[in-house]
């Protein structure tokens, strides 16, 4: 998943981009042998990468077509995943809902906390304290998913009963926060767990960006009589904006694709439940992980089809992030 979040342009795009590169080389009439070797190497590895990506895409598409041609339901509207039945019937709306909702919950919780921690480390904490905090955050990133999953299911979920009952009391009328009791192995719990899991990456990337915020702009704000928080608002946050968006996208990429922790915590069902606190729902990665082993050849094709959709969602999310960043490039710290 990580590869697809950072790379993964549609295979045709780099091919289009190559001619200009050629032009650039021709205009540089005197090329040195070293340059030529490097050009060959980078072009070679680029081609290998594209070939692999193309092969993966072709494989996924082929198996997807196989699966979809025998689907008796509608892939985009059927609330069911029964690939062993005759005729088989399966669709992804439940998975789209679960994946998107749990990831959004994760982002909504994680981003503000991560930004606050990152600011604390970069601009508030004395040096003696900021080192250890950053180290602990790094450690959090190194904890394996399955450990998070077990911890989430065995420790976190039971503790959420109180919070969920409270939410039900005060916000139950919205429908979203209705809670009928029982083990809260729900999308909300998954979202909270994902938030903890993506916190380190968002914190670390944001911290790096905030640390690079130019001294001269911080001093400009200080000299105008800005308090520390105003300095952050006037110079650090605007400078770090695109970095925080990129960091959030990295986190979102991880949340969208997280498999084993979700599969451990969630008690899945093929229903869209308006209440996020009650068990039920599913995510793409979790659905694949929990069904892949028992699935027959056709069942696996169907799961692969759902994987392709996840891949497309990730691409769209990345594209959107790039758009957001590019839209305000004129004002970015980069042309200071």
């Amino acid at each position: 998943m990580d590869i697809s979040t950072t790379k993964a342009p549609p295979p045709t795009e780099p091919a289009d981009a190559r001619p200009p590169a050629d032009d650039r080389r021709k205009s540089n009439s005197a090329t040195r042998p070293g340059d030529r070797v490097f050009l060959g190497l980078s072009r070679g590895s680029g081609i290998v990468l594209l070939t692999i990506m193309g092969a993966i895409a072709a494989f996924l598409t082929y198996r997807t077509v196989l699966a979809l041609s025998d689907n008796s339901g509608n892939f985009f509207t059927t609330f069911e995943w029964d690939t062993a039945a005759t005729p088989p019937k399966f669709g992804i709306p439940v998975l789209v809902f679960g994946t998107v909702v749990s990831s959004i919950i994760a982002l909504v919780i994680a981003v503000p906390i991560a930004v606050a921690i990152a600011l604390f480390i970069s601009h508030y904490a004395p040096r003696k304290l900021s080192g250890p905090i950053a180290y602990v955050i790094d450690l959090l990133a190194a904890v394996p998913s399955i450990v998070y999953g077990l911890w989430g299911a065995l420790v976190v979920a039971p503790h959420l009963v109180g919070l969920y009952s409270w939410l039900d009391d005060y916000l139950g009328w919205t429908g979203i926060f209705e809670y009928s009791g029982g083990a809260p192995r729900s999308l909300m719990t998954v979202g909270i767990l994902l938030a903890i899991m993506i916190l380190p990456i968002i914190t670390n990337v944001s911290r790096e960006v905030f640390l690079q915020s130019p001294k001269m702009h911080e001093e400009a704000a200080l000299a105008l009589g800005a308090t520390r928080w105003e300095v952050i608002r006037m110079s650090v946050l605007p400078f770090g904006r695109s970095g925080v968006i990129s960091a959030s996208m990295l986190g979102l990429g991880r949340a969208l694709g997280e498999t084993i922790a979700v599969a451990t915590v969630l008690s899945p069902s093929f229903l869209i439940n308006a209440s996020l606190l009650d068990p039920g729902g599913g995510t793409f990665a979790q659905n694949i992980a929990s069904k892949f082993n028992e699935a027959d050849e056709f069942g696996r094709d169907a799961l692969i089809a759902s994987g392709l959709v996840l891949f497309v969602i990730t691409l769209l999310v990345n594209g959107a992030a790039r758009l957001i960043i590019a839209r305000r490039k004129e004002y970015s710290g980069a042309n200071a």
């Binding site: 200080l222 000299a223 110079s235 605007p238």
Partner: protein
């Protein structure tokens, strides 16, 4: 508007390194005072003690007194944030906020200080940009980013930003050292106009500039690398450049010195 600065026995440190030692001087209101001296002698450090920016540097520490019309900037209970709202500063490298438009750059300090009505803000921004001789060049693109201006325009934008909050004192640390000769002249002219309203202190490594723009000049020097910088003398600019009372000043001005 403009206030007098009385410095007495001022010493500033970076950690255990004493950068300037025992400086005392008076800066007259509505005048331009220039600081000259070899690099590393502590001109910037001293300037930054005048608006409590020195202590922003980790390990920066100050001893002594700086009185602004009799009120000690380092007195207990004085908030450095308020000091910096009273004593404005322009830096060596133009540093408009890159994420803000030209208008927002000038309004930045005002928005910190309180809430203004839209048309009040418009008026002050226009007045400040006119005060910085920049209005005619930017009046049609106030909503464009400040980082799109030339270096000289950016520096005048920074001056507009500093004077928009009507400070008592304006400190400038080599404001022209990153600029071309024409932009430099524009800023020097501007300094001549601004001194009608503000007390101005300018650090410059360019002695012609000191001679052109300042009423009084202070010469700083240091005995050796690693030693603290000291104020050698301060006097009418004319006198410093024609007949200084200390030999070291004359050596430095006539170029017989590093």
């Amino acid at each position: 508007m403009a206030k007098r600065i009385d410095v007495s026995g001022l010493t500033a440190y970076y950690g255990s390194h004493k950068a300037i030692e025992d400086i005392s001087m008076t800066v007259e209101p509505r005048s331009v005072t220039a600081f000259i001296g070899p690099s590393g002698c502590g001109k910037s450090t001293f300037l930054r003690t005048l608006n409590r920016m020195h202590e922003v540097t980790p390990s920066g520490r100050v001893e002594g007194k700086v009185l602004l019309d009799g009120e000690d900037l380092y007195g207990s209970g004085v908030d450095p944030v308020n000091v910096r709202r009273t004593v404005g500063m322009v830096f060596q490298r133009p540093n408009p906020f890159p994420t803000m438009s030209i208008f927002d750059n000038v309004a930045a300090g005002l928005r910190l200080n309180g809430s203004y009505k839209k048309n009040e803000l418009n008026d002050i921004v226009e007045k400040s940009l006119k005060g910085a001789n920049l209005w005619n060049e930017v009046k049609d693109r106030l909503n464009k980013p400040g980082s799109g201006l030339s270096g000289g325009q950016q520096q005048r934008l920074c001056i507009a930003r500093a004077i928009a909050v009507e400070p008592q004192v304006l400190l400038m640390d080599e404001p022209c050292s990153a600029l071309d000769p024409i932009s430099t002249l524009a800023i020097e002219d501007l300094i001549g106009e601004l001194k009608e309203r503000f007390t101005i202190v300018i650090v410059t490594h360019n002695m012609q500039q000191a001679a052109r723009v300042s009423d009084r000049t202070a010469f700083f020097n240091l005995a050796a690398i690693g030693q603290p910088g000291k104020l050698i003398e301060i006097d009418e600019t004319e006198r410093i450049f024609s007949n200084p009372s200390v030999q070291a000043t004359e050596d430095y001005i006539s170029g017989r010195f590093g």
